[in-house]
């Protein structure tokens, strides 16, 4: 397998280089997409399928879609290339960051040595058997709650600074509707499956939300879903539902057990699933609106 790993590492470097050296934006984004998929593959090789799923769905797929969307709206790049000094500075900065990370990883006795036994010791009490979900939704649930707040803040920024109104997608022809009829229900099914699977195997709210967003985007491109036609209020409620459910659960746990986000004994799994359900819907809606943008204010038709 060492041959495969070396080829993978080389391919990641080549993909990164092709993204940086592409003459136009679309080419650069295509390079970035390939780069993300290869990185996801490398996460699989590192025995981190949870991270691989998130990288493939969010890091590569949705970020790539957002980049393509942004590239379509931006003016074409100026003819003259980036100054040499600026390129050199960026390369220096990137090398410094990579070097710092390498030193940090080499220097540590290894996070796995510290955290693995800790997680393993308490996994039985967490209500789930997937250690990643146990950390995200139980041991370090506070971090995840804040992450959801960050996602909501990002949407607020896009709504404040983004373009007015949402673009109407181009017509995609007669073959697209049968495709939608298969893909849209399937995305809901797969999202639910990933959500449920998260308790015992790689999966969870973020991956499920990303898949749900994929289905919603497919509907949007088919013209079946028009966020611009929906009043902004309910959409915001949908996007804030994740944080709201999470915060309500944290407070309820505080009342019931006296500790913030310490779920009542024996009921951990129900609490985690309820929170993750809210998160999935919110993540799906938020990622969709990050792509399409929101209708601005009440006055705009």
């Amino acid at each position: 397998m060492i041959v495969f790993d070396l080829m993978l590492a080389a391919a990641i470097l080549v993909a990164g280089w092709s993204a940086l050296s592409a003459p136009d934006r679309t080419g650069a984004i295509a390079g970035f997409l390939v780069f993300g998929l290869l990185v996801a593959l490398s996460w699989v090789r590192l025995d981190a399928p949870d991270v691989a799923l998130a990288e493939a769905a969010i890091g590569s797929g949705l970020t790539g879609a957002l980049m393509l969307r942004a590239a379509g709206r931006m003016a074409p790049p100026a003819a003259d290339r980036v100054p040499r000094a600026q390129r050199a500075a960026a390369a220096l900065l990137a090398c410094g960051l990579a070097g710092g990370l390498a030193v940090a990883v080499m220097d540590l006795p290894g996070a796995t040595i510290v955290y693995d036994p800790l997680v393993r010791a308490d996994l039985g009490q967490s209500g789930v058997s997937n250690p990643v979900t146990a950390v995200l939704l139980n041991f370090r649930a506070w971090d995840t709650l804040l992450e959801m707040a960050v996602l909501l803040a990002a949407l607020v920024l896009v709504a404040a600074l983004g373009p007015r109104g949402t673009p109407r997608p181009a017509r995609l022809g007669p073959l697209y509707t049968p495709f939608l009829r298969i893909m849209a229900p399937l995305s809901v099914l797969v999202a639910g499956h990933l959500l449920w699977l998260g308790a015992t195997a790689p999966g969870g709210a973020f991956q499920a939300g990303a898949v749900l967003c994929g289905g919603l985007l497919a509907l949007y491109f088919g013209g079946a879903l028009r966020p611009a036609a929906v009043p902004a209020g309910p959409l915001w409620a949908l996007c804030a539902a994740g944080v709201a459910v999470f915060a309500a659960a944290a407070l309820a746990a505080e009342v019931l057990t006296g500790t913030l986000l310490a779920y009542p004994d024996g009921a951990d799994k129900i609490w985690i699933l309820a929170i993750e359900g809210g998160l999935t819907v919110s993540i799906g809606a938020t990622l969709l609106l990050l792509f399409t943008g929101l209708r601005q204010g009440g006055a705009r038709a």
Binding site: A170, L172, G173, F179, I182, M183
Partner: protein, 105 residues
């Protein structure tokens, strides 16, 4: 069991050959339509063969069924994506053809 293993390896080998041909077509063919022609068919068939082979090698129906479903999904989305790319390219070609005709008349 031996037969299944052998068949699995054969299917995967065949799939890899098809995927290589698809990559070769993408690399060597001159324009978008011929490239799509190579990519959509060979790619879909290659993925399906690799998935089937891997399912047979695993020796369990619980693995074979999801892998087969994945191959079906790749076939549906690959065919639709190829169609959409060709369609948008045709639209652009028609647009440029019309504008040149207008210019020359």
């Amino acid at each position: 069991m031996m037969v299944l293993t052998l068949l699995g390896h054969l299917l995967i080998a065949g799939g890899v050959v098809l995927l290589l041909l698809a990559a070769l077509g993408l690399w060597r063919f001159p324009d978008l339509h011929t490239r799509l022609h190579a990519l959509t068919k060979a790619d879909t068939a290659g993925v399906a063969l690799v998935a089937l082979g891997a399912g047979l090698l695993s020796g369990s129906a619980a693995t074979l069924v999801p892998l087969t479903l994945c191959a079906v999904l790749v076939a549906i989305s690959g065919a639709t994506t190829g169609h959409l790319i060709a369609r948008s390219a045709l639209d652009e070609e028609h647009a440029s053809w019309r504008s040149t005709r207008h210019d020359s008349v």
